[in-house]
């Protein structure tokens, strides 16, 4: 851990958000398996980078995680657009999409953390 840069710790936080988001996503009205896969992938690449300590993997970690989290957030709308439309049209109540909103906010927060991480050092050079 000693040689990890601040960027890595931000990806670690993004990974933690992905883990939380998995639980949040389970309560979303309409779910997609592919979104779970994307979130699990975020955690998997983080674990790989952490345990393997591969230089290339460490380098591209924020890019990969940012793509995965951003894709999860955007892709999750695919099956929720109708429901959002119902709420906007006052055909249904907002509580039917609150967990979805929470999921998207968390995923986007993770994405932004990855973006910031990308501009920062991933390792402390000796």
């Amino acid at each position: 851990m000693k040689n990890r840069g601040i960027g890595f710790y931000l990806t670690l936080v993004a990974c933690a958000l992905a883990l939380i988001d998995i639980f949040v996503y389970t309560s979303v009205m309409y779910k997609m398996t592919s979104v779970f896969v994307l979130l699990v992938a975020v955690i998997a690449v983080e674990c790989a980078a952490f345990f393997l300590n591969n230089k290339i993997l460490n380098e591209i970690l924020p890019i990969v995680q940012g793509v995965l989290l951003g894709l999860a957030a955007a892709h999750s709308f695919y099956v929720m657009v109708n429901q959002i439309g119902y709420v906007i049209a006052a055909l249904d109540t907002v509580d039917t999409i609150t967990s979805f909103i929470a999921f998207v906010v968390i995923a986007l927060a993770g994405t932004i953390l990855c973006w910031v991480s990308g501009f920062l050092k991933q390792t402390n050079e000796a």
């Binding site: 309409y30 894709l71 657009v81």
Partner: protein
């Protein structure tokens, strides 16, 4: 060096993420392309004329030169319908009011916040921001020149009382709490929305002195909501026994009005029958006028009735019972859950949408068929009719305790004398009745000749209502002393009763049939009884105005039983829906042989294994079978080629059995067919192979619904600019709402088929100006009980009233090229847990009540498409019931229209596989199957391609759609020299450009990042 590397990594990360998100967004946008295009006024399909462009391709032309003319015509008709639909229950001469000499005090906070229509989906709507007017009671009365008590209006407009106003779902003036999804908990609260008497100060009360009081009693309507007898009033300090009874605050208000007014007129602003027996019996209440929920402009028409500009001629189309819970149907209304429901942790799953059931124990005895039939049996002393079982007063059942105003009742400012001169019946042919009508009063007005029939009943035989509406006709305006003879035409098949005891047949029993006219079902029945028994003794009148006259009845005798004339292709189809065939002895049905039976509440059911097949959606499976079918074959035919055009108008289409249809269907590709069926939501999908452009359909019974698609202009694109009915975004009326008409109970109360046909025609006109091809209307379910909060979307408790109204309005629509899409076939009798609910009922009840309502428009094929309901019949989803859709609708009735589901709300029980196999039609969704266990139809394409039988059913379903679209306004703008050209819209191009931009940025950033990485490695 490292710093630069980090920058490029950061840039790459940001751009790659945004690229991924944009790609996902593009995918979503393309999946909902029709929806987005409809809202942005764009299109991906442009019809291009490859000919010389000289052909006039507008086959359905508007009768109006401008949108403004059409909008004004609709408003005028809405006013006229509301004035003819207003029902005068009681009048001691207080009405009409003299506008020039009588000042009016409008009483009730709900006079300030009246209900114009229901909420959600198919209800009323308007756009105030666009300058569209809406007329509440105050606005309408001022418009019509009434002088109103401003002090009272100021009270109701003050912040002090605002907290008492009904509020719900964002709209002041509505108090129901609709649940768009299933209601799994009891809706326990309903605020009436009146204020306490203490807020009427002496100053305010004195302002009402010497004025005429109009006291407004109002209740709401909504899709996805019901009333419950056990609800509590949440208006602070107020209470009621039942939500459809008067509340304490309402009674207090009426008492104050009586103290401070020259006369008291109660105006009922509700489509659910209320309990108003106390108002009827109160001699200090001078008049009662039912306005219903009259839509955006309807109170103008009601004001005309109050002023006497229009003489009331409406008749109520529901029974006003003294106690709204007294009919046997109320024994089973609400929420009943299977013992193995998913809620209880049983083996039914949430995906099955099968937790709930409803047993319709009342048999055929819905509405007046119960009250009037039991009345006759009391008079004739049969069937324990006078027992205390079902009696609201606890003692013997007597009619005067039970019914306040019967079905069909309504007064006028004048009096009429009617005589039933003659009745002619040709079994298998037509029936006619001749009725002479004379205005015996002093005011000009219209009169309705309501024709009823009584079929011969024998104890223990087929259940029969003692009286049944079979037809009606309305006179023109008759001056005092003037007479008119009207002819009421009817179809004698509706005199027949359905015998489900054997193989199933429509039966005309031998014996005496009594026809009668009267001011409602009760007076007609009294006329029958007077003729039948030769005595008026013991007969009970509803009001002092009732006349019992045997000359208003007519006896017609059938010498021999006839069970063949109306039984061609008929056999029992719905026996499985009788719960007693599944679980013997579950329920006793209401019966004339013993009125003490039929009151059981079935509050516990455990489905059998056979029932579980339907409840778990396991009735059909895709298999590999047959030799396949042909798709994508080029025969050089387009849909427009099958249309007969004469003098620039569509006059016909190739016969349904013509093999050319098979050739046309072969031109369609399997992908197109799949898309057409499984994407039936919002739009009717285009089929390029046969030159069918994307067409549009929309709710609902009051007009094209505003909350789903706003305004007249939204369907139009720049490529339509040359159409004569094109509406620009800049048009003065472009953003106006079209769903402005009165609700269906008001329409039905007119008893005027000419007006209703005109309503259909003007809806067809609206379709030409909104570029819509289908309207999901009319609502044709029955008012099984007064507690369904969606009754405002349906005409009546009576199937013949529904049948006649349905034919009238759909005929008008069809004449203008608009596809009428009646809903919801069938048995959608409550909103609570409507999705997937098992509805159990007797086949006789199903056929004589609910299905008879649909039968008119479907057998005459004035309905082009029918929307199926959310519920199940028995345990089958109604949209996938072969027995209902094919065996009854097509084989018995000869229906050649299409089917479409209601909004897919439970994608696994409303699945495309079962719908298609069972002869259903399109699925009203764009993406609901994406989240279902069955998945999308497109994803199952390879399995579908192996199932010949399934593909044949797909073709069959699409054929019905095409057969009707070819006769619709969807053909406007088409000729056989045209072709469909695909283009990208500006918004798609924008997304594509953004994707390209971020792809370039990502590649560039990535390249520079790798370059820096290499440099770092070298160093």
């Amino acid at each position: 060096m490292s710093k630069r590397k980090n920058v490029w990594r950061g840039v790459t990360g940001v751009s790659a993420s945004l690229l991924a998100m944009l790609c996902a967004g593009l995918n979503i946008a393309n999946a909902n392309v029709g929806f987005i295009n409809a809202r942005l006024g764009t299109t991906n399909n442009i019809v291009v004329d490859t000919g010389d462009g000289s052909t006039d391709t507008i086959y359905y032309k508007s009768e109006f030169g401008t949108l403004a003319e059409m909008v004004k015509a609709k408003q005028a008709l809405a006013e006229e319908i509301s004035s003819e639909g207003a029902v005068l229950f009681k009048n001691n001469g207080a009405l009409p009011l003299n506008i020039s000499s009588e000042k009016v005090t409008l009483w009730g906070l709900n006079s300030h916040f009246p209900t114009l229509g229901g909420m959600i989906g198919s209800s009323t709507g308007f756009n105030a921001e666009a300058g569209q007017p809406a007329y509440g009671i105050e606005e309408a009365f001022v418009e019509r020149g009434f002088s109103l008590n401003q002090t009272m209006i100021d009270l109701y407009s003050s912040d002090m009382v605002l907290g008492y106003a009904r509020r719900g779902f964002g709209q002041t003036g509505h108090g129901l709490s609709p649940a768009f999804t299933a209601t799994y908990v009891n809706q326990s609260e309903y605020p009436v929305g009146e204020i306490p008497a203490s807020l009427y100060t002496d100053d305010i009360l004195s302002s009402a002195d010497d004025t005429a009081a109009i006291v407004v009693i109002s209740r709401d309507s909504s899709e996805a909501a019901d009333y419950y007898p056990t609800e509590k009033n949440t208006t602070e300090g107020d209470s009621y026994e039942r939500p459809l009874a008067l509340s304490d605050y309402e009674r207090d208000m009426i008492a104050l009005a009586k103290e401070h007014s020259t006369k008291v007129i109660v105006m009922i602003n509700a489509d659910n029958a209320l309990e108003i027996e106390e108002l009827k019996n109160d001699s200090d209440i001078d008049a009662i006028l039912w306005a219903g929920e009259p839509g955006l402009y309807g109170f103008l028409g009601v004001a005309d009735v109050v002023s006497g500009a229009v003489n009331p001629s409406g008749h109520i189309t529901d029974t006003y019972a003294a106690n709204s819970t007294s009919a046997p149907a109320m024994a089973n209304f609400g929420m009943y859950e299977y013992t193995n429901s998913s809620n209880q942790g049983g083996n039914l799953t949430e995906t099955n949408k099968a937790d709930w059931y409803l047993v319709e124990n009342e048999g055929i005895y819905v509405g007046y068929k119960y009250y009037e039939t039991r009345y006759e049996d009391v008079i004739l002393g049969q069937g324990n009719a006078d027992s205390s079982v079902g009696a609201t007063q606890g003692s013997n059942w007597v009619y005067e305790d039970e019914v306040t105003y019967p079905f069909g009742y309504g007064l006028s400012y004048t009096t009429f004398e009617q005589k039933l001169e003659n009745v002619s019946v040709s079994v298998g042919g037509e029936g006619t009745a001749t009725v002479s009508v004379k205005n015996t009063g002093s005011v000009a007005g219209k009169s309705v000749a309501q024709l009823y029939v009584q079929a011969p009943y024998t104890n223990g035989g087929i259940e029969k209502s003692a009286i049944q509406l079979i037809g009606f006709a309305k006179t023109s305006v008759l001056e005092p002393g003037a007479s008119e003879t009207v002819t009421v035409s009817f179809d004698p098949q509706y005199m027949a009763s359905y015998d489900d005891s054997g193989a199933g047949a429509w039966v005309l029993d031998a014996g005496d049939y009594y026809f009668a006219v009267g001011n409602g079902a009760h007076e007609a029945l009294n006329n029958v009884l007077a003729l039948k028994t030769g005595s008026k003794d013991k007969l009970v009148s509803t009001t002092e105005e009732d006349v019992i006259d045997p000359e208003c009845a007519f006896k017609w005798t059938l010498s021999a039983k006839d069970d063949t004339t109306y039984s061609e292709n008929v056999e029992n189809q719905l026996q499985f829906a009788d719960i007693n065939t599944q679980i013997p002895g579950t329920v006793t049905y209401s019966t004339r042989s013993d009125w003490t039976l039929g009151w059981d509440t079935v509050d516990s059911l455990t489905p059998t294994d056979e029932m579980m097949v339907g409840l778990t959606n396991s009735r059909y499976q895709l298999t590999a079978n047959g030799d396949g079918v042909s798709w994508g074959v080029d025969h050089g035919i387009q849909l427009i080629d099958l249309v007969t055009i004469e003098d620039g108008k569509i006059t016909g289409v190739a016969d349904f059995t013509d093999p050319v249809w098979d050739q046309l269907l072969e031109e369609i590709t399997l992908d197109e067919a799949i898309q057409f069926i499984e994407k039936g939501g919002d739009d009717i999908e285009n089929i390029d192979s046969i030159l069918l452009p994307r067409a549009y359909e929309n709710d609902g019974p009051l007009g094209f619904t505003y909350d789903q698609v706003a305004g007249y202009y939204v369907r139009w694109t720049n490529s339509d600019k040359n159409r004569p009915t094109y509406v620009s975004e800049k048009d003065e009326y472009a953003n106006w709402s079209d769903n402005v008409m009165p609700t269906e109970p008001v329409v039905a109360a007119t008893f005027n088929t000419d007006l209703v046909t005109r309503q259909g025609e003007l809806q067809g006109e609206a379709a030409l100006w909104t570029k819509e091809t289908g309207v999901i209307a009319p609502g044709m379910n029955l008012h099984r009980t007064p507690y369904n909060a969606r009754n405002h979307e349906y005409y009546s408790e009576d199937s013949m009233m529904t049948n006649i109204m349905g034919v009238a309005v759909t005929s008008g629509m069809k004449s203008k090229g608009l596809q009428a899409q009646p809903k919801h076939l069938a048995f959608n009798h409550q909103e609570t847990n409507r999705s997937g609910m098992s509805t159990f009922l007797k086949e006789q009840a199903a056929r004589e009540n609910e299905l008879r309502g649909f039968q008119g428009a479907m057998s005459r094929n004035t309905a082009a498409t029918v929307m199926t309901a959310f519920n199940r019949i028995g345990t089958q989803f109604v949209g996938a019931s072969e027995e209902l859709l094919i065996n009854i609708a097509r084989n018995e009735w000869g229906y050649t229209g299409a089917f479409v589901t209601d909004m897919i709300n439970g994608a696994d029980y409303m699945n495309w596989r079962d719908i298609t196999f069972a002869g259903g039609g399109n699925a009203l969704t764009t993406s609901a199957y994406e989240t279902s266990e069955i998945g999308t139809m497109a994803a199952s394409k390879s399995a579908i391609a192996k199932d010949t039988q399934f593909q044949k059913m797909m073709k069959s379903n699409i054929k019905y759609w095409l057969y009707n679209l070819a006769q619709s306004n969807a053909m406007n703008g088409l000729s056989n020299t045209m072709e469909i050209k695909h283009v990208s819209t500006w918004w798609q191009n924008t997304i594509y450009a953004a994707v390209a931009l971020f792809a370039v940025l990502t590649v560039a950033g990535c390249t520079l990042y790798i370059k820096e990485l290499r440099k770092e490695g070298n160093e």
